[in-house]
Symmetry: C2
Subunit: 873 residues, 2 copies
């Protein structure tokens, strides 16, 4: 530790890790000549030392603090603890990453029974002095001496009541003195100690309290929740106090250099006359809009706006500025990059580029792609959420929001929606039968299932809000109700879903509609200029494909044909196929599916025009298409005129202990080649017919779950033979590609061999994550939350691509694949394809594209651009 | 193709791939001066060309054949097709790997209506000449002209009947001529062509037939079944005929230079007087023991024995020799390394070393480790098996054999065995409740489950014969019977199991007891001299450990503590633990388990004395310990006085969609640390108490299913804290190690990080194979057989370690691990640890040890030695 303390001006913004955000900002502003009350910063390294050495200071710290205090006294021409002209200081925490309100701060330090008189005399404002002293005792008592806030509040309330006074400001000096006496009594009662009168003692106790607050519970939880890691500790800023509460010529406020809600380039903020900062935060008095300041103190306002511009030009971002006016003199207490809504972030970025303040790259980097979701879906009103009754929380399976009456079956959903009612479908878990019901619902809520359960996948495809795995729900289908704790929700009750957070609320919350502003469109176009990764979409229907294309998808990276199998009457033919005992019977059933599948592909090809369309052949195990519950079995048995016995037998026969690792993907085609033959026929016929109509389609057929070259070779042969047969029939020169998913570790490890057969690769990182970790996506709910909580994982590997394990395999697969085929087209089509951090990884290792669900396409475009910009630098 | 034909003597044994085994052998023998009938070999390359070029010869082949035929005529001083002194030849197949009887051969070629007369005159034996002609037409007609054998046999039988004759040899020349006429008629009727009289035409047709036979169905199947790959095709050997059927001074036979059944160093074999080779094979006349030849033709016998020794000295192995005597002159037609029993292979290897013929390394390489199983377990008598009625076939889950009465429940097994009956327990699948019943049964048969199902694992541990996954069985527990096709097997019926093949037979087959000969022990000791890999065992009980130690295990590489959880009353405490809702309740139940677990470990440590013992903490998901069927639930509910409702709820709650990828292994310890704490306490207390008694135990504690360093760090802490606490209590200086299984791809990929925490690695290649391939061991039965059949896999990856995928991960894991800890102890404890090919891989990449089930320890010792010997060379 070379330098433990930086007097403001000795440091700068680059020393953020060492000085904390606040400290670095104060130093930087001091250098810029901004009127900052002088002070000094004790580094985060000192905090680290303190916390690692059983709360001991490093050698010489105490002396250095006292030395800098002397400098501060000289600068302010006041003396700490002086009876005539006392220097008051604030002792504030401030880590390198903002953790608002999580750590401690003490203001007005240096006051005692004597110096308060000096302050009164010097400011000629006795009331102000005693009010400050009262505040100090209360804050110090709470923060440093750990006396609960309530003990002080009770006294304050009692005396206000006795005196018949409503607001603190109405209290007289005498009354304040009375309160101070009572406060001191409470301190003695609670701690057995007198309130410390020695300012130095006050100072060091306060510094310790700030250091200690780094590891208080709420700070630890906040860091965990916000994934803040690798910091040393908090810095401590010791700064001369300035007072906004000396009278009508003083005040304090917060302003933003632009509107943080809309992004509009207007000075925005609010202030209070005759108040300290805490009064603004506490919300006791209603602040005044900053425009008013122009009228009251035009010069101060002018200076503030000028400083704002100066800072904006310096930081090249919208800033959030805390200021205090003491007797018409303006002081800036803090400035930092301002938080903003998604909408504002886009407008500000685009405006600043227009103004020449920043270039496009910088503008793009200002966007938080995750926030973008807000702009694409309906949202629950934030304020209303805060006040609403939260019922439970599940997994945020599909973003957006929904409000409606609870229904418990797809049938009820259809009926009620026909009556014009908005409904929310609540199920234990959804199955193929529920699709129509889901389509007419506002949103879907299931008690079971994960982020990739049937409900989740289908809802995301539909762009419909969905919450899955709400485990607290005790589902009672028979009585059409469910229970969460002691709250009973019945059919017809209204609930609201927040698909972004997984929260469920009782009652109808107001919805905010999405909007795609011109600025947003501009940001997306800029993204396209700067990104190298192509962005494709995972879409199974023309509807999804159309949405994705509007969002800028450059093709379909993954069409999951099995989703088509669930639609409408098709499931009947699929089940016929599964129940068949011979190849002939199976082929007969498949023949019924053929025209439907073909129609699907024609639809998709038409929407995507001549953009690439990658179609994955059947992937899930066959038992997924059979009914699950006895009730469903009964139904299916009747509708198909198959005995329940036969159905049960087949279900039993197809049952698997670990279906994820079972008879699925290309393994199905090894045993039942006729399935892939039918699908190939549908794809190639669709392409041929469109080609006859002048549309140049070059379909890409993708074989799932390949684990070895030989497997792919055999399945490829099946597909090729059928394709050749059809192409010959149409007598057309149709080109097509056959590629494979790389979604098993062995496929990645033998990608050099597999690339001998595959014309393209698509990393299926969902399954690859499952097998690499040995995690069943459907079962990890029992332990992944604990893994995140115990810091075993930084992120849920199903959300953010695990670079060390799964990513390593992706890299191995890519390198081996390109060793065999130099120009092998390689992409990713797992959930990670729409997640910013994962997209950055994809860019870095040199993938050609990412493919994600339609609503994530804009996010992916921005993320891909950011990845390229960041990694160029 | 430089040289298409090798005249015998031009080639040698090293050209086996080119000349086939037979051709190379004939060339080699010619070089050694052994009396081989002269001839020449057409190479396998020619066969490949022929089969790849639509049955066309390479340019110049025909001319070269005719040229070499000329050389043969000169050498034999006979002329092909001559009317006076005709040269007869054989045209034989012969690939580089022996495929006995799978491909075609034609003898006596060159005979026709004219040359038969010449042969008669020259040999002065008309009957012999016409018998040869008859045989030729029959063989050529069948092999080349594709007329079914039966057509000829019918004629032969009819005439024999008419003439009142029993054996072929009793037929007169006239009768033979009659048969020849009938044969020629049949040829014309069946093919529309006359029997070819032109010897050259005969020759080329026969050569084509041999080439064609490379791809006949039975040859293809044979190659598939025996995993014969990478050959070019068959060679064709054209050789002068010699005749064992010219009269009483001629004969033919097969001999072994040592006894192929016992390995005894004695000349062994049998022969027929006045017969051709096919008569020996056909088994019509009973051959005479070779000893008799000594009496009949002492000089020939002496020469034969001398040649045998000469060949043995040359080949340094026991040989199988085919010979013919033509008028007291001995000809050797073939010699090759003789097939032998496991017992013989060991005796021969040890004897030859004693005789100075070979060194120990060579002796060891002569052992087929897989065959060794025969010597360690009871076997069904081979001959009896051939005659017995095979009921069905399952998976050979645990080797050995068993004969007994069928019972359908563990309870029945116990009762009947108390009555002194030998029983075989037949179950749909076994569960923990069945263990006692399994223990008293001779063998176990289950309709479901794989090679690593509960039944399989427990039976292998017990060294008990077990067949699992006998899918044809339709199980009817209620009526105590099962059905295979139309065969009903009821309680009390006797069946026989062959655990080496998975075959089930109706009735009691005779059993052959195992024996551990002195020679076997010697081989094992030699193995220890030459191997680098240590051989440890997977053992869960003192009983297993004792057996393994007797077989030479150098420690326990894997003790699966969960198997202990199933024994006796423990399961009750385990279930109590699982049914608990709070940590306190769980700890209470675990306290009951503690003394039992401790007792287990004391037992194991005592048996293994001071050899390393690696104990894996609980691995399977908790639901595996709960009852499965409603009947079991009822039972458990009563015995534990827990409502079935509560049981069902817990079962439902713990249910997993993919239990293989679920809440198990160290993941359990993250959520329920108290389980590992109890197990650690049991291990450390056991070790401390034995140390107090003077036994220096250093337990190795193994954490299963680790996917990241952080996971291991946290679980290690749990174990360490408990261990420290116990060691402190005993006040003893006990050392212990904490290591981990590497059984997930991510663990291998991040092994450098994991090695920061782990003091040793053990590759769990069972699970690693599951996750690397995405194969559920329990479900692959539906497609792996087809994968093997379609040549997608060379071996079942659960039997033989997959080097390209799983092996690559093992190698990555090893290299990364040793990068962090140079001397990291690394082994393997999956099923592959006892499989020879996999052991060779483990040796090559530099593992420290393999660990396998007790009965595989001898196999592993030999395999490890062979790996080292082979890879030194």
């Amino acid at each position: 530790m070379e330098k433990m303390i930086y007097f403001f001006g000795e440091g700068n913004l680059k020393l953020k890790n060492l000085l904390g955000g606040k400290g670095a900002g104060l130093n930087e502003m001091t250098n810029l000549g901004i009127p900052v009350p002088p002070g000094f910063t004790i580094t985060t390294e000192v905090c680290k030392y303190y916390n690692e050495h059983n709360k001991k200071y490093p050698e010489g710290l105490k002396e250095k603090i006292l030395f800098n205090l002397k400098r501060l006294e000289e600068k302010m021409n006041k003396k700490f603890g002086d009876f005539e002209n006392p220097l008051l200081i604030s002792v504030r925490s401030g880590a390198a990453v903002s953790m608002p309100g999580m750590m401690d701060t003490v203001l007005n330090l240096g006051l005692n029974d004597k110096s308060v008189q000096g302050l009164a005399k010097k400011t000629n404002n006795e009331r102000f002095a005693y009010d400050s002293y009262r505040r100090f005792i209360q804050m110090f008592g709470n923060v440093v001496m750990k006396i609960e806030h309530k003990s002080f509040e009770d006294i304050l309330e009692k005396i206000k009541e006795t005196k018949g006074v409503k607001y603190d400001v109405e209290l007289t000096t005498e009354e304040l003195k009375e309160i101070i006496n009572e406060y001191k009594k409470v301190v003695y009662e609670k701690t057995g100690k007198e309130f410390p009168q020695n300012p130095e003692e006050q100072l060091f106790l306060a510094i310790d309290a700030v250091f200690d607050s780094w590891n208080n519970e709420r700070a630890i939880i906040y860091r965990k929740l916000n994934n803040i890691k690798g910091l040393l500790g908090t810095a401590v800023n010791i700064q001369a106090m300035v007072f906004g509460n000396t009278g009508e010529t003083s005040g304090t406020g917060v302003c933003f250099t632009r509107n943080p809600s809309t992004g509009k380039n207007e000075f925005y903020g609010e202030f209070l006359i005759n108040a300290q900062g805490e009064d603004v935060v506490a919300g006791i008095r209603t602040p005044i809009e900053i425009e008013e300041l122009k009228k009251i103190m035009p010069k101060v306002y002018e200076e503030l706006v000028k400083i704002g511009k100066k800072l904006e030009n310096h930081y090249k971002d919208m800033l959030d500025i805390e200021f205090t006016i003491e007797n018409k003199k303006l002081y800036i207490l803090q400035s930092r990059v301002g938080k903003r809504t998604a909408k504002a972030s886009i407008k500000i970025a685009v405006d600043m580029e227009k103004e020449g303040l920043i270039d496009k790259e910088t503008a793009l980097l200002k966007i938080n792609p995750k926030q973008i979701n807000q702009l694409l879906h309906k949202q629950l009103d934030d304020l209303a959420k805060q006040k609403a009754k939260k019922l439970t929380k599940g997994l945020p399976a599909s973003p957006g929001a929904a409000v409606g009456e609870v229904v418990f079956s797809a049938q009820d959903a259809e009926e009620k929606s026909k009556q014009g009612k908005k409904v929310i479908l609540v199920r234990l878990e959804t199955s193929p039968e529920d699709i129509k019901g889901m389509a007419v619902s506002e949103g879907v809520l299931t008690a079971r299932g994960g982020m990739t359960s049937h409900a989740a996948v289908v809802a995301r495809g539909m762009g419909k809000c969905c919450i899955t795995g709400a485990g607290e729900i005790v589902f009672d289908e028979k009585n059409k109700s469910f229970l969460v704790g002691s709250t009973l929700v019945k059919e017809g009750d209204i609930i609201s879903l927040d698909g972004n957070t997984g929260e469920v609320f009782i009652g109808a919350l107001p919805l905010v509609e999405p909007e795609l502003s011109e600025e947003f469109k501009k940001i997306l176009l800029w993204s396209d200029e700067f990104r190298k990764l192509k962005v494709l979409t995972n879409a199974d229907t023309p509807h999804d494909a159309r949405i994705a294309k509007e969002f800028g998808a450059e093709g379909i990276g993954l069409c999951r044909t099995e989703h088509m199998f669930f639609q409408g009457d098709r499931i009947v033919a699929v089940r016929e196929m599964i129940l068949s005992d011979t190849r002939e019977e199976r082929e007969k059933a498949l023949k019924k599916l053929l025209p439907m599948q073909k129609g699907d592909f024609i639809g998709l090809f038409k929407v995507m025009e001549e953009l690439p369309v990658t179609i994955r052949l059947l992937d899930p195990p066959l038992h997924e298409f059979l009914p699950q519950t006895m009730e469903e079995i009964q139904e299916v048995s009747e509708s198909m005129s198959v005995s329940p016995q036969k159905l049960l037998e087949k279900i039993e026969q197809l049952k698997e202990i670990n279906p994820m690792l079972g008879h699925r993907g290309c393994r199905l085609a090894i045993t039942f080649p006729e399935i892939y033959e039918m699908q190939t026929q549908a794809i190639i016929e669709a392409a041929c017919e469109l080609k006859q109509q002048g549309l140049n389609i070059e379909p890409e057929i993708m074989i799932p779950l390949v684990s070895s070259k030989e497997e792919l070779r055999i399945v490829k042969k099946i597909v090729e033979n059928k394709a050749k047969e059809i192409i010959k029939k149409y007598n057309i020169n149709l080109k097509y590609k056959i590629g494979t998913m790389i979604e098993l570790p062995r496929a990645a490890l033998t990608a050099d061999e597999i690339a001998q057969e595959a014309e393209f690769f698509s990393f299926g990182t969902n399954d690859l994550t499952q097998t690499t970790f040995g995690f069943s996506r459907d079962d990890v709910g029992k332990f992944i939350p604990e893994y995140l909580e115990k810091d075993i994982f930084e992120y849920d590997p199903f959300q953010v691509l695990d670079r060390k394990g799964v990513g390593k395999l992706v890299k191995i697969g890519l390198e081996l694949g390109r060793k065999t085929r130099k120009n092998l087209k390689i992409g990713i089509c797992g959930e990670h394809g729409g997640e910013p951090k994962s997209i950055e990884f994809c860019h870095k290792i040199g993938l050609d594209y990412v493919s994600c669900s339609p609503y994530r396409v804009p996010i992916a475009r921005i993320s891909a651009a950011q990845a390229n910009i960041k990694n160029k630098a």
